[in-house]
């Protein structure tokens, strides 16, 4: 049983992403905004398993998270797929400290990408509407998300990466 958990650690963590997404712990937030949780998992996963796996699991994550939000018009799939592919191209760095900060920066950029793609969808849908007033809240969302994800990524990603590497080596 223990061996099974060790071997499937990355998949078990994957199952917990939607739960954290729903949980939405306010005490971790900033201006009511949360870090973009799926990227914390997607970055180590893609770095270990490559772009193609990143793409597939980006799609899966997008599908699950879209099903949890009741906004039917917009999707998180393009952003997560793109991040999966990009993260897969990043090589592991030997310097531990540089690695830590790099995770923060990469996750911030990924969040910015996902947020911008989401905002573009909203913008495109409302382009003909004269009452479109979403600019300021959207910028606030993107900036807060970028900051928080970048802030937490060095702690979470490096731990997850270590755990995933360990579990894949054992198998």
């Amino acid at each position: 049983m223990n061996k099974f958990f060790k071997k499937k650690l990355s998949i078990i963590c994957f199952i917990f992403i939607p739960i954290i997404f729903l949980w939405h712990p306010n005490w971790l937030g900033f201006l009511g905004v949360q870090p973009y949780w799926p990227l914390f998992w997607l970055l180590p996963w893609s770095m270990i398993n490559g772009s193609f796996n990143g793409l597939i699991f980006g799609l899966f994550l997008g599908l699950i998270l879209d099903s949890l939000t009741i906004d039917n018009n917009f999707t998180q799939i393009p952003g997560l797929i793109l991040c999966g592919i990009l993260f897969g191209r990043i090589k592991l760095h030997s310097d531990v400290l540089v690695g830590h900060f790099r995770y923060g920066l990469i996750c911030s950029l990924g969040t910015f990408l996902c947020g911008t793609l989401y905002f573009l969808q909203i913008l495109f849908k409302n382009s003909l509407e004269s009452n479109f007033l979403l600019f300021i809240p959207s910028f606030k969302n993107i900036l807060a998300e970028v900051f928080l994800t970048g802030f937490f990524a060095p702690f979470i990603c490096s731990q997850l990466l270590r755990m995933f590497k360990f579990s894949s080596r054992k198998s």
């Binding site: 949980w23 939405h24 939000t69 009741i70 906004d71 018009n73 959207s138 807060a144």
Partner: protein, 249 residues
């Protein structure tokens, strides 16, 4: 030669008494600096049971509350009777379902809450959700045990509302922040900060007269309409228990 040497014990700082006096001095100095606020506050608490008119005030307030309650019940009955005569839409308390908020997304892109009552408990899509203060949102979808609610702050939400004082309808649009925007398609509307906004009696989505919010600021810069910022009475970020009201359309 005789050397006079002090015995170390005789120094003032070696005496406990000196420190006690210094402590008292510092305390009194603090009292002086604070203009006796410490004493005044202390006096406030000890004299509280003896304040004049306190008991009388409570009796009067209780009577006023009772009177208001009786009047409210009478008005409710009157309202129901008149609505029946006019065959307007109504809501009854029997259809209410109490539910707890188990997931809350009140920031970020998504403005939704998840309730612990679902289709198994009789929650229907389109039911409205009310919290302490007033309207929170509408049930968008249900699972067996849960229901997802689109908050009125969500950009997806568009509702017809009613301004009681100036007797005018408006469109309440969520903006993705904590303050939805009310759009009045009349430049001459005499709206003021502090006006009360409730659900529209003509709305097909909501039961009438549910409190929503209060006008916070008014933007007159547009040509043909007024855009008004609304402060909600029910705060979705703080509410843990809600009522789901079935809408009979």
């Amino acid at each position: 030669m005789l050397e006079i040497r002090r015995i170390s014990n005789s120094r003032w700082w070696h005496k406990k008494k000196s420190w006690v006096f210094l402590g008292i001095f510092l305390f009194l100095f603090f009292v002086r600096i604070s203009k006796g606020s410490f004493y005044k506050d202390f006096y406030y608490f000890i004299s509280r049971p003896f304040w004049p008119g306190q008991f009388q005030k409570e009796v009067i307030l209780e009577s006023i509350n009772q009177e208001s309650l009786i009047r409210l019940n009478l008005l409710k009955k009157d309202n129901i009777r008149l609505r029946e005569i006019l065959s307007l839409q109504e809501s009854s308390n029997d259809d209410n379902i109490s539910a707890a908020v188990i997931s809350r997304k009140t920031g970020s892109w998504w403005r939704q809450i998840l309730l612990n009552k679902g289709s198994r408990d009789g929650v229907e899509i389109g039911s409205i959700v009310i919290g302490p203060g007033g309207l929170l949102g509408r049930v968008k979808n249900t699972s067996l045990f849960t229901s997802s609610v689109t908050l009125i702050t969500s950009p997806e939400s568009k509702l017809g509302v009613w301004l009681e004082r100036i007797q005018i309808h408006g469109l309440l649009v969520g903006l993705g922040d904590d303050y939805p925007s009310l759009i009045l398609y009349s430049k001459d509307a005499d709206i003021k900060v502090g006006d009360f906004v409730s659900s529209s009696p003509a709305s097909t989505l909501l039961p009438p007269n549910i409190p929503i919010g209060i006008v916070q600021s008014i933007d007159d810069s547009l040509n043909s309409k007024k855009r008004v910022k609304i402060s909600l009475l029910a705060k979705p970020q703080a509410i843990d228990w809600v009522q789901i009201v079935k809408v009979n359309i």
